[in-house]
Every structure is written in C-alpha cells, then in structure tokens.
Amino acid sequence: MSNESNQTTGTPLVKRGLAEMLKGGVIMDVVTPEQAKVAEDAGAVAVMALERVPADIRVDGGVARMSDPDMIQGIQAAVTIPVMAKARIGHFVEAQILQALDVDYIDESEVLTPADEAHHIDKWPFTVPFVCGATNLGEALRRISEGACMIRSKGEAGTGDVVQAVRHLRSILGDIKKITQADSAELFDWAKHLQAPLPLIQEIAETGELPVPLFCAGGLATPADAALAMQLGAQAVFVGSGIFKSEDPAPRARAIVEATTNYMDASILAKVSAGLGAPMTGIGMDELDVKYEDRGW
C-alpha cells in the first residue's frame, strides 16, 4: 500500500486547519484566568491571553510587550478551549517563547509596540500557527507570503468604534472581487499595485477567496457589530475590549456568540441584543493620537 503511516506536525494544512475550526465563532481578549472562564462559559471558541486589553494599553501608553508566561499558563490551566497570545511585530524571540509555552495561535499584533520597523516575523519555520492583521489585500498577502495562517482586519483596537474594521474588510473583499474579474494580463498589474506575490494574486483570481481564513477584529462592541462583520464576509470575529470594558461582560459575551452564529437572522439578533446594559463607552476615530492600523508594513 502506498504512503506509509507518517505523522507530520506543523504543516500548512495543519496550521490553517485550526483557523477552519474557529470559523463562525468568537475569540475573546482576556487578562485573567477568571475572565477566561467567563469567556468559555459564554461560548467563546478561543481566548486571547494578554496583560491589558487594548483600551487600557491606549490609556497607559508606554511600550506594550508579550505577556508574562505565568499569566499565559494561568489562563491555559483555567480553560479547555484554545489559548492565543500576542507577540510584537517582528519580535521572533517573543514568538519562540510563546511556541515553547504551547500556545495554540500567535497573534503578531499591531496592538503591541512594534519591535522591527521593516520586517515581520518569518512565520514558516514555526510549528504554531500565526494570525496577522491587515488593512488591505496587499498587506494581507504579504503576511500570507511570510507564513500567516489566518488574516484579521486590524480595525482600531480599544476604541469600540467598528468603522475601521468595516473599511478594512470592505477593502480586502472588494479587491478580491475585482481580481476575479481581471484577465490574466491584468493580474501582473494587480501584483504590482498591491505589492504582493503574483502566485497569490493568481490563486485569488481562480478561487475568488483569500488563501487563508479571514476574520474580523478591532472595535467590535455589540452583537450587531459582530453580525455586521459576518454579513460583510468575515468568517469569525475577535472581540477585545468590547466585552470586559462593558457594564455586564457575561451576558454581552453570550449575546455576541449567539449573534455570530445567527448573523443572518434579524429576529434572533433583536432578541439577543436586548437588555445587555451599557456597551464600552469607546473613543471615536477622530479623537485618536495613535492609530494601530498604521503599524505593520
């Protein structure tokens, strides 16, 4: 019989596979094991372990780095669902440490202070999969060519304002639609215009979709925000400050989970949106000094 039994770990299929399993779900930012339990109880498909949610990083200022391993391990011990953690852009040693801690996904994230002004992490040698943020299709494809297994919109984390996430999703998905209409000669120009590898552009022209799952992140605060992201074409959502900076996190978390599954059913959305207390207050985009979306190259 051909193909002897031979288990291989860390292949692109295995790394992208976990993102497939997270589709249709909600990944929640948590800063303590107790919050991680609340997230799991509410039906989160994974948690993102970090020291401060983006809203607090904005207020505190200073350099934001990878979380303390003790804190990540505390969260791993508290829940049975996948645990993700953030590394600074370009900080491949933080990523090596996170892999050694057995985290399930690394977010090379613009929410932390970038460690390299020109280079992102070469993600191919890692066994653990990476998710990266993108504001447009060119950025998404550059991250994929570096080995990212999932792309999320950057949005503008910590604001509670969904407008940037919507812009990024529309930009990425809009260009994908246009590429499917392009002829073979025009694909070269698309590659030049997007500063992205031609083979990935050609793949999109053929399949009509991003080569890896596309999730939405940044500024989501309500069940309606989550359903908006899903109707626009995101395949799952990250909710950061939007849950634990709201008045009553547990029911809001649960409602966002229900809304992400039933994103097309307005009567269910109306039901789960009711009586949740105040969402995070938020910061309007025009009030911001630092825009995280500008980080990443």
């Binding site: 770990t9 497939e20 589709k23 779900g25 049975t80 989970v257 039933n262």
Partner: protein, 190 residues
C-alpha cells in the same frame, strides 16, 4: 435525500464542499426549522463546548436527540464525534452529548495545537490510505461492543467508528483532498 450540515460554528462549509464534490444535496442547519427538512446530519469540527451550548439555545438538542434514537444517519467529525460520544473526558461539567456512539473520548487527547498532525491511515472498506488531518483532536479511549472500529492511528487507537447508522471520527476528512470518508457515510445513508 438532503444532508444537513450543522452550522452553529466550525468547519461546516468545508463539509458542504465535500458533499458538492460527491453530488449530494445538502443545506445548513441552525434552527429546528432547518433540521425538519433533512434526512441525515453531519456535525462538523469546531469547538465542542461552544456547539453544545448553541445546540441548547437554538432548540436543536432535543429534536436531534429524538431522531438519532429513531435511527437517523449522523456523522460527526472531531467536535462532532465528541457530541455523539457516550462519555466525554476533560470536558466541561455542563457539556451535554447525544450518547449515540458507545465510546469514551478525551477532549484534546492528542495535545495542543503544536501536536496537531496529518497522516495517511488504513480505513476498512477503502482501498487507498486516507489522508487524515488531526487538529487538537479528541482521543477515543474506549469502545463498546456494539461499535465497530473502521480505522486506527499510528498508536493503534481507534479514530473512526460506526454504530448502526451513526459514524464518528477524530480527524477532519473535510480538510483533506480525500472524499473517501464522506463517501462511506453517504453509502450508509442511501
């Protein structure tokens, strides 16, 4: 004959693409009204705790349970296998399952994501080895007498089981190019 694919969360679209490739008619199931229209059900991979919770809130748990008892063909992959198992180890206390397969499964029994792997397995009734992808996979730790083991992993642990019209596997046939496992299920449905 319509195959429903449970679409509460997880890799349901990948299953629908397999059913397309095999020419089966199919639809997504999110609410009891969807479920009433289907003749068989696939429960995909994803997060079993999330799905278990959404099965309750959607009102799908009881109707699926009833029709499983009445002999409806159901196929569960990974999280779907967990939902079908008699016993869940390392699960949440409030996590419910349909107990349609006489197996005990340990959640994440193969370890965290860095231990996820792919392999080519011998499957009874399939000529070629089957490309199989294990993602934070559940491990089948015991199998009752009435449950047939159709495939085993490199350590000889069962990974594909069948009991009457119900089938479950620890890996993800929806992620590889292979259609053999879906074909096995469709043969049992017909």
């Amino acid at each position: 004959m319509t195959i429903g694919v449970l679409a509460l969360q997880g890799a349901f679209r990948a299953h629908r693409e397999k059913l397309d490739a095999l020419g089966a008619s199919h639809c997504e199931v999110r609410v009891p009204g969807d479920f009433d229209r289907v003749d068989a059900l696939i429960m995909p991979g994803g997060e079993s705790t999330t799905m278990s919770m959404l099965l309750e809130s959607s009102g799908l748990f009881e109707p699926i349970h009833e029709r499983l008892k009445a002999g409806m063909p159901v196929f569960g992959t990974c999280a779907g296998l967990i939902l079908l198992a008699r016993e869940i180890q390392d699960g949440r206390d409030d996590q419910r399952s349909f107990a349609a397969l006489d197996v005990a499964v340990q959640r994440n029994g193969y370890g965290r994501q860095v231990a996820s792997f792919e392999d080519h397995l011998v499957v009874s009734g399939v000529e070629q080895r089957v490309h199989s992808v294990f993602i934070r996979a559940p491990r089948i730790t015991s199998v009752g007498e009435d449950c047939d083991v159709l495939a085993r992993d490199h350590r000889s642990d069962p990974v594909l089981v069948r009991q009457g019209t119900v089938m479950g596997c620890a890996f993800h046939p929806e992620l590889s190019e292979d259609t053999a496992i879906h074909r096995l299920f469709l043969e049992s449905v017909a």
